[in-house]
């Protein structure tokens, strides 16, 4: 790619006279020249990469994640999970007799970047399938590209229903927002909390979706929403909203958003002496949740994809391996990404080929795949149907409360 830069600089001396600007049409025409030169350079450099892939001794698996930027903590966990699955498979001799090679792109947690990096990955490496993203907004950018190129894409944790509606090559291994919203509503009602307040992060598609589906289930099943408030991620001050909520005396508060703000909300709520429990979705799942809020988080609940306290051998086995490899406790993103990769490898084995249509069919027909986050069966809409767990924060740890089945 060094070509375009050098071709860029050459046409410029044309304009070295400071008066050029005042003699109009010259600059217009030379702009065209400049443009043409640039584009030729670019096009040439683009063409060269046409047949990079095609090594028959390996299978290329693509992954895109937010390794840097605001949501890097999710992206890093997901990347760890995928890498562990691939390394494991390679240690066991690969798949279909071939070594696996993982290609990872960083979308920097930024809008627009996911589309670019996925195109780049597809053009350069031609992966047989792509794993990503955690964030629904970035999965929605990449999904049409994967669909168009007929490359199966498996999202580990995008819970927005729209993601898999893009087309028949797009899958996910997590439950979706309607289910999670319903689970939280069901849980509240079971405990007899029929007056709930809602505090939603309106900047996050995930949070808005969660709130909608929660509200729907909650009000249809006898609950009342006494107060609806909102905030935008990045906000630090929630006292105004919380003061309003306090005035309506709810029995529980749904805080739909991510852990950064959830922690702040919890501590500001306690400062305002709001003593009812706060509930959240899987966006709360991060060690930072407790770090920021400390004691204020105690007793609150959130729904999640798995619990590290689950005694099942799949979970315990995964925990031990992850800890040995990364010296860290895995979070749900790590587990889901691991599951996404394992499910993909299983599908490749079942298909016996990496040809895209066959692989797509193999993934689509996954039934009862024994995953860390519960047995996965992909339904007709390419969503995983499986149970959610409810966790409670006790002594700074996430304690398993119960499993809620679909």
């Amino acid at each position: 790619m060094s070509l375009p830069v050098s071709s860029l600089l050459r046409p410029l001396p044309l304009h070295s006279s400071s008066r050029t600007r005042f003699h109009g049409s010259l600059s217009t025409s030379s702009t065209a020249v400049l443009l043409a030169a640039l584009l030729c350079g670019l096009v040439l450099s683009g063409c060269k990469k046409k047949d990079a892939a095609g090594n028959s001794n390996e299978i290329v698996i693509g992954e895109f994640a937010a390794l840097t930027g605001a949501t890097a903590s999710f992206g890093q966990s997901a990347h760890n999970g995928v890498r562990m699955a691939i390394d494991e498979a390679n240690a066991n001799g690969g798949v279909l007799g071939k070594k696996l090679r993982l290609v990872t792109e960083d979308d920097q947690s930024k809008a627009g970047e996911a589309a670019t990096v996925v195109r780049r990955m597809i053009s350069r490496e031609r992966p047989v399938a792509i794993i990503g993203e955690v964030a629904s907004s970035r999965s929605l950018e990449a999904a049409p590209i994967c669909q168009q190129n007929k490359i199966p894409m498996i999202s580990p944790a995008s819970t927005n229903p729209k993601v898999t509606k893009t087309g028949d090559y797009i899958f996910r291994v997590c439950f979706i927002d309607p289910f999670q919203g319903a689970v939280l509503a069901k849980f509240m009602l079971q405990r007899g909390w029929t007056k709930a307040a809602i505090l939603t992060d309106v900047k996050q598609d995930y949070a808005v979706g969660l709130t909608d589906f929660f509200q729907d289930y909650f009000t249809k099943n006898g609950g009342t929403i006494v107060s609806e408030q909102s905030y935008s991620s990045g906000d630090k001050d929630f006292k105004a909203q919380l003061t309003s909520i306090r005035g309506t005396n709810p029995q529980a508060i749904l805080v739909a958003g991510y852990y950064n703000e959830a922690g702040l909300i919890a501590s500001q709520a306690r400062e305002l002496e709001i003593k009812v429990p706060l509930l959240g979705g899987d966006g709360w799942d991060s060690p930072s949740l407790v770090e920021v809020a400390g004691e204020a988080m105690e007793g609150n609940f959130f729904s999640n994809h798995f619990s590290s306290e689950d005694k099942s051998p799949a979970v315990q086995n995964f925990l031990a391996k992850y800890k040995a490899k990364y010296l860290l406790d895995p979070d749900a993103m790590g587990a889901l990404a691991y599951d996404a990769a394992m499910l993909l490898l299983d599908a490749i084995k079942r298909a016996g080929t990496t040809e895209s249509a066959a692989l797509r069919d193999a993934i689509a027909s996954t039934t009862g795949f024994p995953a860390v986050t519960g047995n996965i069966t992909l339904d007709a809409s390419r969503n995983a149907s499986k149970a959610a767990v409810i966790l409670q924060i006790q002594d700074g740890k996430f304690r398993f409360v119960e499993t809620v089945a679909p």
């Binding site: 408030q229 935008s232 990045g234 630090k236 909203q241 305002l272 002496e273 920021v292």
Partner: protein, 309 residues
């Protein structure tokens, strides 16, 4: 009307307003002596919060031996000092070479400085928000009614008032303050009368940055989390506060800050009653800015001034 709720919202708004006021002072003072908007001021505020975090981390072993308020004071003063130095260095390196240039050139430089500070902090400290330690033991004080106030809110309000009083003393009663006022009034005359312009400008930047650092610490204390881009919005809102009060006017900046803090909190708190979604919070300051610039460009306390040819 629910009076307890209103009082509570006013207390919340007041502590937010105090922070805006402290930042706004820096804008207004720099504008007073140099006639330009220091776009990077919001990032100095952010650096103040990060400085507080790291000072607290480094000195933690020492803090076991002293009461809360003393260690908090040390963190506050050290961060203010660090930011004062940073402010002076920024002025010397980036703005001083541009003293005779157009405002636009200086504005672009200031945007560059702003980006440098926020992306530099992101590189060093990471993009993810960081928790801020509890500097003083936070207790909820119950006031009459169902109104409550935290120790932190009380400390923020009291210290802000103290800082404002000492700032007024510096500006009105010291030789440096006299020089600042002289420079603001007429730079040419001031330098002819023997005012050391460079020294006064450095001092102004140092003072403004120290106040921004205090605001950064207070912000972090009240809202517990800090990140490299936290300075952009409060910085711009504080600028609006300075314009609202009348840019160049110190009392005006304080007033503007408090007003914006209160208005913002009330809009969010009463969004249902007034029919504005709370998401519009960040638009409040800009709407005020546009209204004030259209109808009373000199601000509430400023005196109008014609652009001279």
């Amino acid at each position: 009307m629910d009076w307890a709720n209103l009082t509570q919202q006013l207390i919340n708004g007041l502590s937010l307003g105090a922070i805006y006021a402290l930042i706004a002072l820096g804008y207004t003072m720099v504008y007073g002596v140099l006639r330009f908007i220091n776009f990077a001021h919001g990032d100095v505020f952010m650096i103040g919060a990060f400085a507080g975090l790291y000072v607290h981390r480094w000195l933690k072993p020492l803090f076991h031996w002293m009461p809360d308020f003393l260690s908090a004071l040390i963190v506050l003063l050290l961060s203010m000092l660090i930011c004062a130095v940073i402010g002076i260095v920024i002025e010397k390196l980036a703005y001083k070479p541009l003293r005779q240039r157009s405002r636009l050139t200086v504005l672009i430089t200031a945007i560059g400085v702003s980006l440098l500070l926020s992306y530099g902090t992101q590189l060093v400290c990471g993009a993810a928000p960081k928790g801020f330690p509890q500097l003083i033991k936070n207790e909820t004080l119950d006031l009459p009614g169902v109104v409550s106030m935290t120790t932190e809110q009380v400390v923020v309000l009291v210290v802000t008032v103290l800082l404002l009083i000492s700032l007024r003393f510096i500006v009105q009663k010291t030789r440096m303050g006299l020089a600042m006022r002289a420079l603001s009034n007429n730079p040419t005359a001031a330098s002819l009368m023997g005012v050391n312009t460079d020294a006064v400008i450095s001092f102004t930047f140092g003072l403004g940055s120290a106040l921004a650092a205090a605001a950064g610490i207070f912000f972090a204390m009240l809202y517990q989390a800090i990140d490299p881009f936290m300075g952009i919005l409060p910085g711009i809102k504080a600028f609006v506060a300075a314009v609202l009060g009348g840019i160049g006017n110190i009392a005006g900046a304080a007033l503007g800050g408090v007003l914006i803090g209160l208005l913002e909190t009330l809009v969010v708190g009463y969004s249902k009653n007034i029919g504005i979604p709370p998401g519009f919070r960040d638009a409040v300051a800009f709407v005020i800015l546009i209204l004030i610039l259209m109808f009373k460009p000199a601000g509430l306390l400023g005196k109008s001034e014609r652009e001279k040819v």
